[in-house]
């Protein structure tokens, strides 16, 4: 036990001696979440659009006002002819053109649904889709207000309500996503790099010839990062909650428990990586390709898993962050309890066991 | 005659923060001589050599190499010297012939000239049949010999050798010195660092560095006479022991 404490002391000294590491450890999570929170937004605001209005009656003017008043749109041009549409798109200043047909107002009062044509710049398909949806929503809403006839004649009116995220705030997704990402990165990357460093500088040789048991060396590396990663989890949740208003509906205790389990899984993965890399650079590269990219792309953080090809959906099941992301979304946004997350937790624990098993099997009591 | 002095160093100072790597060095190197730079790791040998080869700028001092000022004409100097270090010398993933061609090209030799000189190097080292072998597959001693030949492929005025024989077996080490002598006979000035003391004897003059300071500069014969020693190793130990600047202990114990 004394040996183990000595090892722990040494690890903490390493961490606190290196100013750069500390900056990364404590600065990065907060910076990252701020960047993700502010920069990568899925909602639209002040989109520049153009309008080609063949009617120019009260209704279309009112609708245009409503579009601008929503704060989502900014009508930059009133076009005179369809020829201009293409030119303006080419210029790239506008993302959408709304075309109102002749006699818009009359049709509406007569109870015939007038059609509105939306032309979108689909160079960024996701964005175009969102812009289109927003326009549609405002137009529909306007139609309802203006004329009861529409809803009566069409028979069906669709009313959406966004559960768990009424305002469609993207930070609701990004804060949990960043949490998963940061914890993965910190735990796995830092622990794998720190073991690889011992190999690179040759001190592993001395540790190996010492009476330290492999499990002691490994745990000595892991423990400091468990504590640090935990501190980071708390800071990310706080920033998410205070700055972006992400709620914590469920139990904080459960959230912490799940986070600790995830951290252990990530650390085990990091150690597994370190058993096969001989220097810091290899460990770093491996972590980048094995951990960071899949975590970003396949965990459901940025791209919804349901939209992925079947093969990638299948692949995503072996990404620990996918399950953790699931858990924290359930706890933070839905307020779900243990009953809803025990399966995911079990998967994470299972992964932990597998990773540790492989690491211990791979751990070399000798050099190669 | 300044013409005889191919390197002139006056008051060379190089600091890294508080650390003084070269502490006011003064020396000249004569054209055509083998000049040895002795000292332990960290004595400032490599730092001085980097300044003389134009790889790094001194903090202060007047330094001329091959007639050019190191502050103003770093690039011109680089064209007039050869350099070989213990760490990097050749591309391991290229063959011997490709390495020679590459460095010949870097120094602006014509294709015809490169061909001629490649053949000469290969014959001199007796490795004609190995021209298409990857450098990485060769033993260390061979690499070092080829690296030296490549460093002087463009007939530089001076060649700088940074611990070229470190860790090489005794036979190869001697073959290496044969190459050095050969180059010196052709009029190339040799500036070499080493920590093998017997190699110090092969130099025309040696400078001894301890903790960034030059504590002696003379021919090996004169040094041995002056300190009444049998060999350079004893001279070095005597000098280093006497003038060693012990590391200052910090006040806060």
């Amino acid at each position: 036990m004394k040996r183990f404490i000595g090892l722990l002391q040494k690890e903490f000294l390493h961490i606190f001696r290196d100013v750069r590491t500390i900056m990364i450890l404590f600065g990065m999570p907060v910076v990252q979440i701020l960047i993700f929170g502010y920069v990568i937004k899925n909602e639209v605001s002040e989109v520049d659009i153009a309008v080609l209005d063949y009617s120019r009656d009260e209704t279309t003017i009112a609708l245009k006002n409503k579009l601008e008043a929503s704060g989502y749109f900014n009508i930059l041009y009133e076009l005179q002819s369809p020829k201009e549409i293409h030119e303006h798109f080419k210029e790239g200043k506008i993302k959408e053109v709304i075309v109102f047909p002749k006699g818009f107002s009359e049709k509406l009062t007569q109870g015939k649904s007038p059609s509105v044509q939306l032309i979108l710049d689909a160079t960024d398909p996701n964005y175009a889709q969102i812009v289109g949806q927003y326009t549609e929503a405002i137009c529909l809403d306007f139609g309802l207000q203006e004329s009861q006839i529409i809803s009566q004649s069409s028979g069906i009116s669709i009313q959406n309500r966004m559960f768990f995220n009424e305002k469609m705030e993207s930070s609701y997704l990004f804060v949990p996503g960043t949490m998963a990402f940061i914890l993965m990165l910190l735990s796995a990357l830092m622990s794998s790099v720190s073991i690889a460093r011992e190999k690179e500088f040759g001190s592993m040789e001395i540790l190996l010839v010492s009476p330290l048991k492999p499990i002691q060396v490994v745990l000595g590396k892991v423990m400091p990062y468990v504590i640090l990663a935990f501190a980071n989890a708390v800071s990310v949740i706080l920033v998410g909650n205070l700055v972006f208003g992400v709620p914590i509906e469920g139990s904080m205790l459960l959230l912490m428990l799940a986070s600790v389990i995830f951290v252990f899984t990530a650390l085990a993965l990091g150690i597994m990586i370190s058993t096969i890399s001989n220097n810091q650079l290899t460990a770093m590269m491996m972590s980048m390709f094995v951990l960071m990219l899949p975590t970003m792309l396949l965990s459901g953080f940025i791209f919804p898993i349901e939209n992925m090809p079947v093969f990638l959906q299948w692949l995503s099941t072996i990404i620990p962050a996918r399950w953790y992301l699931d858990i924290i979304k359930i706890i933070m946004l839905k307020g779900g309890g243990m009953a809803f997350i025990w399966q995911q937790l079990l998967i994470l624990i299972g992964m932990f066991v597998v990773f540790i098993g492989i690491s211990v099997k791979n751990y070399k009591i000798r050099l190669e | 005659m300044t013409n005889d002095k191919i390197i002139i160093v006056k008051d060379m100072l190089k600091k890294f923060g508080d650390f003084v790597a070269n502490d006011h060095l003064n020396f000249d190197v004569h054209r055509g001589e083998i000049f040895g730079f002795l000292g332990a790791n960290g004595a400032g040998k490599t730092t001085a050599m980097k300044i003389l080869t134009g790889l790094s700028k001194p903090s202060s001092g007047e330094i001329t190499v091959a007639g050019y000022d190191v502050y103003k004409s770093g690039d011109t100097i680089k064209r007039n010297i050869g350099y070989m270090s213990q760490k990097f010398s050749l591309y391991e993933d290229l063959t011997i012939a490709e390495n020679i061609r590459l460095f010949g090209g870097i120094y602006g030799l014509s294709r015809k000239e490169i061909k001629k000189r490649s053949a000469k190097i290969l014959t001199q080292l007796g490795i004609e049949d190995m021209a298409n072998k990857l450098v990485g597959s060769l033993p260390l001693g061979w690499k070092q010999k080829i690296a030296f030949s490549v460093a002087i492929v463009h007939d530089p005025a001076i060649v700088f050798l940074d611990e070229p024989t470190s860790g090489v077996d005794p036979i190869t080490r001697r073959q290496f010195w044969d190459l050095i002598y050969d180059a010196a006979q052709r009029g190339i000035t040799i500036f070499v660092t080493t920590h093998y003391m017997d190699e110090a004897e092969y130099c025309d003059r040696v400078a001894i560095l301890v903790d960034g300071k030059m504590i002696a500069l003379d021919s090996p014969q004169q040094m041995k006479k002056a300190y009444k020693k049998q060999n350079m190793n004893d001279v070095f130990v005597e000098l280093a022991r006497g003038k060693r600047f012990f590391e200052k202990a910090p006040n806060n114990k």
Binding site: L13, F201, I206, V209 | N41, L140, D169
Partner: protein, 310 residues
Amino acid sequence: MSEIRIENISKNYGKVQAVKNVSFSVKSGELFGLIGPDGAGKSSLIRIITSLLLPDSGNIQLGEYDVVKDYKIIRRLIGYMPGKFSLYQDLTVKENLEFFATVFGSSIEENYDLIKDIYHQIEPFKNRRAGKLSGGMKQKLALSCALIHKPEFLILDEPTTGVDAVSRAEFWDMLDRLKSKGISILASTPYMDEAMRCDRIALMQKGEILGTNKPSEISKMIQHDMFGVRADDMYKLKQFLSKCIDVDAVNLFGQEIHISLKTGINETSIREKLALQGFSNLEFRQIEAEIEDVFIHLMTRQAKEVKNDQ
């Protein structure tokens, strides 16, 4: 019994034979030197002895323990200083020492006696980070760390590489004192001159042991006479000797050229030939072979054997 017995050890890395059928033993309380250039296989052999590498064949006993089977016990019994400076550069002198003491379940106080002489010299810098020490100091710290658990065997891989001549001499003095405390020491070095500081040495080249002997006996490993020649124009002298058909080996040794003669050639004939050349200040004397002469001699023989095998 603190003897190290190495029997028929071989180790290959792919096609490269790093260690070829090596056998020798280090006696209890002996200071044994393993001498050879870079790439001779010294580090591989040392790592096999310290249980860090598995040999392909052969066996090694440290005292009564087998290095493969009893590696856990062996690791408690040895003090090891790897070739590269492997302490933590970002920790201070004292922190490093304390760390290694606790790792081995010991403390600085407990074995202070053993490291006193060495640690005393670096104690004034105990709060300095290891990375900021000079080469000689680092080496002393590494030695202290290797000794902190009072090992029976001390195994050092090139402890004096890159260190100045004075620190090197001091280091061998320290090893002498440790030997007198009954520790068996095996140290490797690329410096031939350090052989004189050992009780016995093994010369190693290309994975093979060329010979094992006492330093004082080593010169007898060359059977024929050796001569030292010098003159003002050493370059010309060497060229002449190299071409001279009577001469076998010609090697520069500092200010002298060491030569050996072909069998059947006597000293006077070569003296006469040299005199005819008119070298100024020519000196010619019979010498005792130095360790490096022997090394070169054995290396050449090894090379010939390889050629004959092919």
